[in-house]
């Protein structure tokens, strides 16, 4: 991000002995696990296969988008446009399907290409013109939020939409809907599969390959990375493109889930995705954006929402409980480090 800042210090795991080290590294995870076990023990329906699937299902879109924003954070940037990008993609899919009556096979690539272009545009603004990342992606957010409303004049897009006297009769095809609603082997919802594949691929790339190291290097010290021969502009560009593509992938699934071009469907995902990525910072005491952390963060937030709902907590207490658990987690992890 563009505010000037010291690099965050990693949590000092190496130095802490025994138990404290364990608390540092696994305290947050343990707390998450504890909450999960509590739900599982007290609510049989929580631990049912169907419910576990439903939790994963509910976080797959947030998770995918969150992974995208994580990548932008890894290179030291920030992509504010992810939610708007997903919302834009929802409308784009709806336009292609309903207004142009295109087949799924054409819509998905177009939608992904849309995300890619948005990411590339963000990247170009930030990398080429040196617009501060938050500012560039904020501009993009406004533009996308606006542009998605233009074709249908602000209306939601579903079969039967009437615009200037023309009725559009394209439909959300079954193939398209499968992307959000289908189940592999009749059991596992397709979005979960996509999320899992994305998470695993990104984890391998970011943690186990030289490209991942390059991303982190760029985020750590741009100039030193450049001087070491890393093509920093390209890396940053690619990071924003990945972020854009993942946001649009999330948008495609979202479109297939809701089955119509719902105006404003993407907006809530900005905060949720960022929340997952941020919780991921603290997981495993890494203190930097990381794929595994974001994934765990998304799952944890999903578990909280699901568990609290199953326990029939009134809606107005849920945010509070979620916030308190997060705060306790932070106090635990960072407090222990501090006391040492």
């Amino acid at each position: 991000m563009s505010t000037q800042e010291q690099p965050a210090r990693p949590i000092e795991v190496g130095a802490a002995p025994g138990v404290e080290r364990l608390i540092l590294r696994y305290g947050l995870l343990a707390l998450f696990a504890g909450v999960t076990v509590y739900f599982a023990v007290t609510e049989p329906s929580f631990r049912s296969f169907n419910n576990i699937v439903s939790i994963l299902q509910s976080i797959s879109i947030v998770g995918i988008i969150g992974l995208g924003v994580t990548i932008s954070m890894v290179v030291g940037g920030f992509d504010l446009s992810i939610g708007a990008n997903a919302g834009f993609t929802v409308m784009l899919c709806a336009i292609c399907l309903v207004m142009f009556a295109w087949p799924t096979i054409a819509v998905v690539p177009v939608a992904l290409l849309g995300g890619l272009l948005i990411g590339a545009l963000n990247g170009a603004l930030i990398v080429r013109l040196r617009v501060p990342d938050l500012l560039a992606t904020l501009g993009m957010l406004f533009v996308l939020q606006g542009v998605q409303l233009l074709p249908s004049e602000g209306q939601s897009i579903s079969t039967g939409l009437v615009l200037d006297g023309t009725e559009y009769t394209g439909v959300f095809t079954d193939a398209f809907l499968y992307l959000g609603r289908g189940r592999l082997f009749g059991e596992i919802p397709f979005p979960i599969i996509i999320f899992a594949v994305v998470a695993i691929v990104l984890w391998v790339v970011m943690e186990r390959t030289r490209w991942g190291r390059q991303f982190y290097a760029v985020g750590g010290n741009l100039e030193a990375a450049r001087l070491a021969g890393i093509r920093v502009d390209r890396v940053r560009m690619i990071a924003y493109i990945i972020s854009g593509v993942l946001a649009s992938l999330g948008g495609i699934i979202l479109a297939a889930r809701i089955g119509e071009g719902d105006v404003g469907a993407g907006s809530p995902f900005l905060l949720d995705a960022v929340a997952a990525a941020l919780v991921g910072y603290a997981v495993l005491a890494v203190n930097r954006p990381n794929i595994l952390g974001t994934t765990i963060g998304a799952v944890f937030l999903g578990i909280m929402l699901n568990g609290l709902t199953i326990k029939n907590f009134p809606y107005y207490t849920q945010d509070f409980v979620k916030g308190v658990v997060l705060m306790v987690a932070l106090l635990l992890t960072f407090g222990v480090r501090k006391l040492r």
Binding site: R9, R210, R213, Y216, G220, A224, A225, A228, I230, R231
Partner: protein
């Protein structure tokens, strides 16, 4: 196989950093490049290493004009560079192992996979090239855990491991102590034998004497002279500064005043020997020792950065125990920290803002008054800059250092501690700073910490050698010799 520059010029805004420089480091020679701060040495290096593009002129690879579009292109042509600035050496957030193998991660010559396990042996091999032994824990830990000198060594080791055709070392010993520097020299000589061309930038003429086959002298962005062996130091200095810099006038018959600071029964590290030390009015105390000997630790204790595990400090008879630099400053104790990028400079700020950061006393800032004082400072320390409002990044390394030192020269002190103040500072400026410091010593105790024995010998009235956190020698400069000090350091 040579890389050369032909008639290269480069300017930044209105500053002409290079005005037509041709240079051809030959295979198997060490070509030293010397010049005052801001002469254009680093700019030249950056053009050779693809970090900057020349405005006019060209880079020749084997006689062919070539455009380096990025550092990667230069590295492909066999040019390896250790840049001048600490911030350019390593990447925080990555492990030491990753930092050691950074080039290979960038180029992909070791394949795509880069798990920590895979990197360890490669990193160890790179470190061995410079004789560095690092534990696995250190290798896996974040590189910021290392001190600034260790990070400089990492950068050097990384470049060596690439088996360059042209190796550019831009003040590679700025953060190193004499012993480590010696080790580096051995490696450099070995490379020379292997036919590598080496471009060596340094302000330490001793190093130039010891290493260089040829010396290129730069002034104001131009190559003013080249000397082949044998050359004399006078020739070089003369060409460099245009006149012979005045020797520092050490007052004959050194008379130190009362002790301002008394350090008693001090342990720097939990298990080091306790020692006593006085800092006296009117005296410049030189503090030397190997890296990790505890110089910074000692200054830090005075300045409230790292309280002593044991021992007392009294200032003008009153015991003090500062917990924060602000407290120390309240007592009149000032410190010029050793790592200018990390500890002293505020990026994006002007020279004025940086120089007056500690000065501001009144509630309302007074731009006019500040500007006047900074203009004086620029003149006194001969800071090469476009003016007080120029961004600090636009200054050469040595000139940035002058601003950092200058920040504390603007403010009257009771105790002034300078940790490696001459890092990257040219001969003339070193003497300017030393003279200025001596002026201040009239009413204050001055400590100058430096791992470079020669620097200490040049500026100090009294010299204290630290080893393993304790004082092992305390002599008047007049009675000290280079050899005796070096011996004591390594005790």
């Amino acid at each position: 196989m040579t890389v050369a520059l032909r008639e290269v010029a480069k300017s930044f805004g209105s500053t002409q950093a290079l005005r037509g420089v041709s240079l051809e480091p030959a295979a198997g020679e060490v070509l030293a490049v010397v010049g005052a701060n801001g002469a254009g040495k680093s700019t030249l290096n950056k053009i050779l290493s693809g970090a900057l593009a020349p405005d006019t002129g060209e880079v020749l690879v084997d006689g062919e004009p070539t455009r380096f579009h990025s550092p990667l292109d230069a590295r492909r042509a066999g040019v390896e560079t250790v840049h001048q600035h600490a911030s350019e050496w390593t990447i925080p957030g990555l492990s030491t192992a990753e930092n050691l193998t950074l080039d290979r991660l960038a180029s992909g010559e070791d394949g795509a996979w880069a798990s920590p396990r895979r990197l360890l042996p490669r990193a160890r091999a790179v470190a061995e090239g410079l004789g560095l032994h690092l534990s696995d824990a250190t290798l896996l830990d974040d590189v910021t855990r290392l001190g600034v000198s260790e990070r400089q060594l990492i950068a050097v080791a990384r470049s060596l491991a690439q088996q360059p055709r042209l190796l550019i070392l831009d003040e590679p010993t700025s953060a190193l102590s004499t012993a480590e520097a010696e080790r580096l020299f051995d490696v450099v000589r070995k490379l020379r034998e292997q036919g590598v061309a080496i471009l060596y930038v340094s302000h330490r003429l001793g190093e130039v004497d010891a290493l260089a086959d040829r010396v290129a002298v730069m002034r104001d962005g131009q190559l003013v002279a080249t000397f082949a062996k044998p050359f004399t130091r006078e020739d070089v200095v003369n060409a460099m500064l245009g006149e012979l810099a005045e020797e520092i006038q050490r007052p004959s018959g050194h008379v130190a005043g009362e002790a301002i600071v008394r350090i008693e029964g001090a342990r720097l590290f939990a298990h080091s020997e306790p020692f006593d030390l006085d800092l006296k009015e009117g005296e410049v105390l030189g503090l030397t020792g190997l890296i990790g000997a505890g110089k910074s630790e000692l200054l830090g204790a005075l300045f409230g950065l790292s309280p002593l595990p044991e021992g007392t400090i009294t200032l003008d008879g009153r015991p003090i125990r500062p917990q924060h630099p602000a407290e120390a400053i309240g007592h009149g104790v000032h410190l010029v920290p050793e790592d200018r990028a990390a500890q002293a400079l505020i990026p994006g700020w002007s020279v004025r803002g940086n120089a007056t950061l500690a000065l501001v006393r009144r509630f309302f800032t007074q731009a006019g008054n500040e500007r006047r004082r900074v203009i004086d400072l620029i003149r006194d320390l001969r800071v090469r800059t476009a003016g007080p409002e120029a961004p600090i990044e636009s200054l050469s390394g040595g000139n940035q250092q002058k601003v950092v030192v200058g920040r504390w020269l603007l403010k009257p002190a009771r105790v002034l501690a300078l940790d490696e103040p001459f890092r990257g500072v040219d001969l003339g400026a070193r003497r300017d700073i030393a003279a200025k410091v001596r002026e201040l010593s009239a009413g204050a105790a001055i400590v100058v910490a430096s791992a470079d024995v020669d620097e200490v010998l040049e500026v100090a009235d009294r010299i204290v050698v630290l080893s393993h956190g304790s004082v092992v020698q305390d002599v008047l400069a007049a009675d000290a010799s280079r050899e005796a000090l070096t011996l004591a350091m390594n005790a």
